[in-house]
């Protein structure tokens, strides 16, 4: 219960002039915002889907050009036996790439902060990998790497690891200078300084990078699948979209697309939740303002 509401409650029960018009207006505005926060997005989304449906019906657009939303859902259910294994494949590549990106990104960031020479030597490679579009690198990767799974994983990793590396490096370097002096005064070892000062300082930055990397890992996995094409063992969601495209099975393309989008949203929600729970006790970003 906020201070405002408490003031309101007291004002009502004791019937004293605790609440003025401004406070009432403020309280009402907060209530409206709390409801609108959930209702508005749902409303707008439903409305958009309804308009989509109306456009298809009114213009009598055939389902192989643009299916009705209902048909997309129907296809999702009907084709679940092919789409679900594909979802698992894409999800597996995404999560493995994200895991390797976390290990690689944090590992490299720690290495860079421990050794200036290592940073000077290797950071240009990290930047080059990052700025070169993955679609340009991917065909080469699939030439040299026999195993499709490893190739896909590598592509997704290249896309996902940089935000984690960049953010964690920044975080490790942004430890409070006085605290660093304090560590020197107390003769902390390099490991202690990393463990007790630099890693906790870097946590909010790392979590910010993780949120970006989660989405990028999915994008990397999907893009890599496209590049790998239908010739390989590919059976992820991107492969399903390609395959359905060749067969002009437009509803299934939409259904696969919907699954990819939902996967992205779920990944974002999970990383946001992790970030919130890790920081809620102390970091400005996770604190509620009074």
């Amino acid at each position: 219960m906020s201070a405002t509401e408490q003031a309101l409650g007291r004002g009502k029960t004791e019937n004293t002039a605790m609440v003025d018009i401004d406070e009432l207006a403020f309280a009402r505005k907060k209530r409206v915002e709390a409801i609108a926060k959930w209702v508005l997005p749902i409303l707008v989304l439903s409305l958009s889907v309804w308009i989509w449906d109306r456009i298809v019906v009114v213009n009598a657009i055939p389902h192989y050009v643009l299916p009705r939303p209902g048909l997309v859902l129907q296809t999702l259910v009907d084709d679940w036996h092919t789409l679900y294994p594909s979802l698992l494949v894409t999800l597996q590549i995404t999560l493995m790439a994200l895991a390797v990106a976390i290990i690689g990104g944090v590992g490299l960031a720690v290495l860079f902060t421990q050794s200036k020479l290592a940073e000077m030597s290797f950071s240009p490679f990290a930047v080059i990998l990052q700025v070169t579009p993955i679609v340009a690198i991917a065909p080469l990767i699939f030439i040299y790497i026999e195993n499709r799974m490893v190739g896909l994983l590598l592509c997704a990793w290249i896309v996902a690891f940089f935000p984690i590396l960049a953010n964690t490096s920044l975080g490790l370097k942004s430890a409070d200078h006085n605290l660093r002096d304090l560590m020197l005064i107390y003769k902390a070892s390099r490991w202690q300084r990393l463990r007790y000062l630099q890693l906790p300082s870097a946590l909010p930055y790392f979590l910010g990078g993780l949120r970006i990397a989660g989405g990028l890992a999915l994008i990397g996995a999907v893009v890599a699948e496209y590049v790998a094409g239908t010739g390989g063992i590919g059976s992820g969601l991107a492969f399903r979209i390609l395959e359905a495209g060749y067969r002009l099975n437009i509803p299934r393309m939409f259904a696969a697309l919907l699954l990819i989008a939902l996967t992205g949203v779920v990944i974002f929600a999970i990383t946001t939740a992790i970030s919130h729970f890790a920081l809620r006790k102390w970091h400005e970003s996770a604190l509620k303002r009074e």
């Binding site: 006085n178 560590m183 005064i185 902390a188 000062l197 906790p200 006790k281 102390w282």
Partner: protein, 266 residues
């Protein structure tokens, strides 16, 4: 583990803790931050380094803290420097925001590999000393500026160090909080027998707190005069409003102003 407070002997009978002998610090080969600074710190001293900005008082503190090495001269600890000999309080409270007050105070012990359970009693004792025993499990962000500074002082005190360095610790606080912390600091000193070097640019603070004031001048940074404040501890409002206090403050202020005179003729 509890620690016995040290006895404070009268000035003149105190054993030396640390000495600086003709210490010079030059930056980039030509900026003289500190010139021929000599100082003997005795057990139980409350020394203020008072001076305008650029007089090298913070440089002196960093040298004593071992954060940098003197260009010339020597800094020696009587009997060598042990691991727990030094406590430091910075201008900001410098707490780790991600952990609780008690865990922050634990830091010096933690870095020696002592578990929280091992030193829990000592941490509670020192938190009680600064009046924060109820806030052991609070996070720093939940505390006011003055309370954060108390945590910082508790952290400096927790190892019962031979010397505590304070670098303008109360400069960022409001006047009312500052006076309370000044009172409390003297209380703490009386109860723990700590030896303190206190950097400040406030004449009144230095006269209120210290028994030795080292007035410093800038360009090059150096000590120009030592003023002894003989008034006995404990000191309180009576001392703050006494004629002797006003007189020493006047004298200190005049000395400080004399160091600024050349600059005004520029």
């Amino acid at each position: 583990m509890t620690t016995q407070p040290r006895m404070i002997l009268p000035a003149g009978q105190r054993a030396p803790v640390l000495s600086m002998q003709s210490v010079d610090k030059t930056f980039n080969g030509n900026v003289v931050a500190l010139q021929r600074m000599s100082l003997t710190v005795n057990e139980g001293d409350f020394i203020s380094l008072l001076g305008p900005s650029g007089c090298g008082k913070s440089t002196a503190l960093r040298l004593i803290a071992g954060l940098m090495r003197p260009t010339l001269g020597r800094i020696t600890w009587e009997g060598g420097q042990g691991a727990d000999d030094l406590g430091v309080v910075f201008q900001e409270a410098t707490l780790m925001p991600w952990t609780t007050v008690a865990k922050n105070v634990w830091l010096p012990f933690r870095l020696r590999g002592q578990s929280f359970a091992q030193v829990k009693d000592r941490i509670e004792e020192v938190l009680a000393l600064v009046g924060l025993e109820k806030f052991a499990n609070a996070y720093p962000r939940e505390l006011s500026g003055g309370m954060k500074m108390r945590v910082s002082i508790a952290r400096a005190l927790v190892t019962n160090p031979r010397l505590i360095l304070m670098d303008e610790p109360f400069a960022a606080l409001d006047e009312i909080t500052r006076q309370r912390l000044n009172d409390d600091l003297l209380n703490l000193k009386a109860r723990t027998g700590a030896t303190v070097i206190f950097v400040t640019h406030s004449v009144f603070e230095s006269v209120f707190l210290s028994d030795r004031i080292l007035v410093m001048a800038a360009r090059p940074g150096r000590i120009i005069r030592e003023i002894a404040v003989d008034a006995p501890y404990p000191r309180g409002i009576d001392w703050r409003t006494s004629p002797e206090y006003a007189q020493i403050a006047r004298e200190t202020s005049d000395t400080l102003m004399s160091t600024l005179a050349p600059e005004e003729t520029h």
